[in-house]
């Protein structure tokens, strides 16, 4: 088991003091019949060990594509990474040969998805699918792989794991399937877990179970977590830092308390004002007028300007607002962030 880690540590460029994960100026485009869709348009992110970074945004903002680019599971074509780097401990994964990247992917960076039913293979038992990781990546025997799989299912608290190891995905409930997927992702003890809308398809009481489990496993393992979601309630509960995405860009990045307490980008602010609250009954909801832009035809200047209440002349002109560094650990892509944050 130590061999694989020694092997990974020996990849040229590995720097144990470099950030756990760092994404620089990432660009992904989809070449389609209707033109080139710039799904990810210059994204910067970083993640520290044991930290939870939430990527928050609505459909089509590029949050899932960013995650898939980090994992190296984009379908090419139509998707092409055209610029940028994804550094894991200093090594740029985008320039790593596929054979080595595959090892990093399984052993160091893992991912779970929204829809466990389509992420799991319906024709193999869950025991076989988890065991496969140990057999392929660790060269374990069938018996050992099975024993480890049962341990893992126990850890994600599947009742009577020993009896359920031979069951197929369809025999589990939605919440239990999500647990199976988490078990698979954590099998090889990754340092980074990317969770793409892990609880969106689940009922709220099951969501609470799954988020609690993820938090616990994260603490035990000192694992960095990238949580991709549109749910501002979940984010407020678990995130340390937040990157808000709109039309392929991170428009605001800040520690969780700052985002909710004093949002500095008009989009973040409008989102927060447009959600109904459980803890009090508000008046009319604030509305963000219009629709997000088509990614084949993003507005000039700031992509949010046609929907923005603060927009003025400079917002409609190229170049798009740069990432203003407004406080330690806080950036915002808005020329008028002063006005928005009420500074």
């Amino acid at each position: 088991m130590t061999d694989i880690h020694a092997e990974l540590d020996a990849i040229p460029g590995t720097d144990p003091y470099a950030p756990l994960l760092q994404v620089n100026d990432l660009h992904v485009e989809f070449r389609t019949r209707d033109g080139v869709a710039r799904a990810v348009n210059g994204v910067n992110l970083y993640l520290r060990p044991a930290e939870t970074l939430a990527i928050l945004g609505e459909s089509g903002c590029g949050k899932s594509v960013t995650a898939q680019a980090i994992m190296g599971i984009l379908d090419t074509p139509p998707a092409h990474v055209t610029r940028g780097e994804v550094r894991y401990r200093g090594v740029d994964l985008l320039r790593l040969p596929e054979r080595e990247r595959r090892k990093v992917r399984a052993n160091r960076i893992a991912m779970i998805f929204q829809d466990a039913l389509s992420a799991l293979n319906p024709v193999y038992s869950v025991g076989f699918q988890i065991g496969e990781l140990f057999r392929v990546h660790r060269g374990m025997s069938r018996a050992d792989a099975k024993r480890r799989s049962i341990e893992l299912l126990d850890q994600v608290r599947i009742p009577a794991a020993k009896d359920r190891i031979g069951d197929y995905p369809h025999q589990f409930s939605g919440g239990m399937r999500q647990r199976v997927m988490i078990a698979m992702a954590l099998a090889l003890d990754p340092e980074v877990l990317i969770a793409d809308e892990p609880t969106t398809a689940l009922d709220v009481t099951v969501q609470a179970q799954i988020m609690g489990l993820l938090r616990e496993l994260q603490h035990q393992r000192n694992m960095g977590l990238i949580l991709i979601t549109h749910d501002m309630g979940v984010v407020a509960d678990v995130a340390d830092r937040i990157s808000v995405m709109y039309a392929g860009k991170v428009v605001e990045e800040a520690p969780v308390y700052d985002i909710y307490g004093r949002p500095a980008h008009p989009y973040t602010k409008a989102l927060l004002e447009s959600i109904p609250r459980l803890d009090f009954k508000g008046q009319q909801l604030n509305v963000i007028r219009g629709l997000p832009p088509a990614l084949t035809d993003v507005p000039r200047g700031c992509a949010f300007n046609p929907r923005c209440g603060y927009a003025k002349e400079p917002c409609r002109r190229d170049p798009a607002p740069p990432a203003y560094n407004i406080a330690p650990g806080r950036t915002v892509r808005c020329h008028f962030w002063n006005e928005v944050a009420g500074v």
């Binding site: 009922d203 009481t205 179970q209 407020a236 995130a239 447009s274 109904p276 459980l278 009954k281």
Partner: protein, 321 residues
């Protein structure tokens, strides 16, 4: 009691062994919104279908504006139905992709031909488009030319076509992005004020339901377990299931982290084909006593609760510390 526009008594729908809806009493007054919340499989969508007549009840009664709906047939049923219309969850599959928007919204007039004379129908459809915030010029477009939020507006226009008094909304905003959700919720609220509509608003999102509802009913395994005005349900819940459900909803305020009592339920909802004995919630309840496995608690006001709750030990428990 003349202001009650919809009332069900002992409403039951069984699909073979599956007890999807098992004895539901609801009352809806003119101009109010009754929210119905519950998780997958609690029977809320089956209830919606029963109310608009898309499913026939196994037992029980549904009164719309004082008229019994169950047992009606043919023209009588058709005429009664026009007072209660429905908005569906999925704006992608609930509109026929091969029909124009004008045909979709105008289709109710084909069935109820006496509502608007044929010559005025195009005008009526254009008015409906305008009412829901779409351009009347788009009458000849197809559903795929609209975004999700706009499609939901088309669904709402169709539901309004027969000028109903009651609209049953089954998860009308859950397929939409948050910024679009707010637009549709505000539209539903302004239509209610303008036309004096009464809504049954079914959703799994407790925050959305609180926002829009005057009264709320909580469902679990085919039954209503607690009902009351919104402050009774959200601030003084007395049924352990309601309490667990509310405590599980994440609140968009990081300052509350660690300050809220979270009740995490163990396991999954039991099968509605084989519900537990006694109180249906007792297998997952953190308050359960031996009595709960034997005696089925009725939905009633008890000593320590000011609103109906189906728990022997109903009393308010506060969730904010």
């Amino acid at each position: 009691m003349t202001d009650v526009v919809l009332e069900t008594k002992g409403l039951v729908k069984h699909f073979k062994a599956v007890q999807a809806v098992d004895g539901v009493d609801v009352k809806l007054r003119r101009g109010e919104t009754l929210g119905i919340v519950g998780e997958s499989g609690c029977g809320k969508s089956t209830l919606a279908k029963l109310l608009v007549g898309l499913e026939k009840p196994t037992a029980g009664s549904i009164m719309v504006r004082g008229q019994e709906m169950t047992g009606l047939r043919g023209g009588d049923l058709r005429r009664a139905r026009r007072h209660i219309q429905m908005v569906m969850q999925d704006p992608y599959t609930s509109l026929n992709p091969r029909m124009t928007v004008g045909d979709i919204i105008g289709e109710p007039y084909e069935i109820h031909s006496d509502v608007v004379p044929r010559a005025n129908r195009a005008r009526a459809v254009q008015e409906l488009l305008e009412i829901v915030g779409l351009s009347p010029d788009h009458i000849n477009r197809y559903p795929h030319q609209f975004s999700g939020g706009q499609r939901q507006r088309i669904g709402i226009a169709r539901a309004l076509a027969l000028r109903p008094e009651i609209i049953v909304c089954d998860e009308p905003v859950s397929a939409l992005d948050v910024s679009i959700q707010a637009q549709v919720i505000n539209l539903l609220e302004s239509l209610q004020r303008e036309f004096g509509l009464s809504y049954i608003f079914i959703a799994h999102d407790l925050s959305v339901v609180r926002h829009i509802s005057n009264r709320v009913a909580v469902m679990y395994l085919g039954r209503i377990v607690e009902t009351g005005v919104d402050s009774q349900i959200y601030e003084r819940p007395t049924h352990p299931y309601t309490q667990a459900l509310l405590s599980a909803v994440p609140v968009p305020d990081p300052r509350l982290r660690g300050h809220r009592r979270q009740i995490v339920l163990e396991g999954d909802v039991p099968s509605p084909a084989d519900p537990p004995s006694g109180c249906r919630f007792h297998t997952r309840c953190f308050m359960a006593q031996p009595r709960c496995a034997e005696q089925d608690p009725i939905l009633a006001i008890r000593e320590r609760s000011d609103h109906p709750s189906a728990c022997h030990y109903a009393e308010p428990r506060y969730l904010m510390a």
